[in-house]
Symmetry: C2
Subunit: 206 residues, 2 copies
DNA sequence: ACCTTCGTGGTACGTTCGTATCACAAAGCC
DNA sequence: GGCTTTGTGATACGAACGTACCACGAAGGT
């Protein structure tokens, strides 16, 4: 049976199994055996491709971040051919909301990792800072451009506003996740916020 | 030795030990034995006052929510004798930010519980919804009053704004928690947001 | 054609965890 | 003052977990 196999691919498959079971039962409850079963391989194999559980978890986080980045990019690209700044900003912020199973799992697990990182320096060294900071930079740049095109209300500080919007999006996402608020209500809150930032030339986008 | 003892008090002491050790090592890592050691009692005693770990965790959450409520109330009361609406709003929002050890632990553990609640219906039935909803109602009412006193910029929807501000505060709090942003930067973001909501009669309060 | 390396399975080990059990002393009740 | 209840200690148990170990079949290289 043992043909030569692509390690990277195998690792990705197993990490995807990890993400699935973690999304279903919670990151705290996932064990090597269950990941193996979900991936349809033996426990030994999980050990073989990841020597330790910690490494498996790290790789799972990387996978999660990567997939999420792709998702956001896709959303932004889908925002239209020559999208207005507001449509771009909206796409960026809405993509982070847990509106379907995939984004819900992402939000759930990312928060789980973040909580673990509070007490785990090794985990805290992972892309927890890098990734959100990049998003903040990107959004700030978007707002600056809109500002130069005189599309924003006066008195808006691009950087502070970007940070605030991203934090709001994250907070709303958590609210959705725990069932406190519906996805529709979250988008309404976000939309109202954008209405107050952008000059009234209402393009509410899709 | 066995004098008659106040159960409620004992349970609170043990739950406080739970909160301490959970804040130190993460909620996922806390065991009955460690809680017992932290509280300075035997494992048996923890079992005696809480029959099961689940009940201990529930009680810990209740304690956390209660203490946090008191903290917010204290902050709001300390906002001044006849505080302006903006000072009140600011006190409410800032109190939720993890600026010191106590609020940091609160934010950390509350988020931990929230993550667990995603996959645990019994935990989800605890005050996860009730409490934030109450905060949203209170903040909405505060904004409405400010609105009637013509202290707000036009075009502000009190309810949507309240929800947005609370979500932003929560999101900023998480950012502080994971070391992505400093407490000062978070308060700056929040302050800027309030500046754009309240009419310019700048009282930045303490 | 041999031999090394790679992929894989099965299983055992040591630890830790939550919980249950046994034992017993002090206090309250009548 | 005997007896029941209450508080407390020590320890045992069964399960689950991460990890380590042993064995072996099938390719690849030369």
């Amino acid at each position: 049976m043992p043909k030569r196999v692509d390690h990277a691919e195998r690792r990705t498959e197993i990490a995807e199994a990890l993400v699935r079971v973690a999304g279903r039962r919670g990151l705290h409850a996932v064990g090597m055996r269950e990941v193996a079963a979900e991936a349809g391989v033996s426990l030994r194999l999980v050990q073989y491709y990841f020597q330790t559980k910690e490494k498996l978890l790290f790789f799972g986080l990387e996978l999660l971040a990567e997939r999420f980045g792709e998702r956001v990019s896709a959303r932004v690209r889908a925002a239209g051919d020559s999208p207005g700044p507001r449509a771009l900003v909206e796409a960026l912020l809405m993509a982070a909301l847990p509106t379907d199973d995939e984004s819900r799992t992402f939000h759930h697990l990312y928060t789980s990792y973040a909580v673990l990182a509070v007490n785990d320096p090794a985990l805290a060294a992972q892309p927890f800072i890098k990734n959100p900071d990049a998003a903040e930079d990107a959004l700030t740049e978007l707002l600056r451009q809109a500002q130069e095109a005189a599309l924003l209300e006066p008195g808006v500080d691009a950087r502070l506003e970007a940070a605030g919007l991203l934090a709001m999006s994250a907070g709303l996402g958590t609210g959705i996740l725990v069932g406190q608020r519906s996805a529709e209500s979250a988008t309404a809150v976000l939309g109202h916020q954008l209405n107050r930032i952008f000059r009234t030339g209402d393009e509410v986008s899709t």
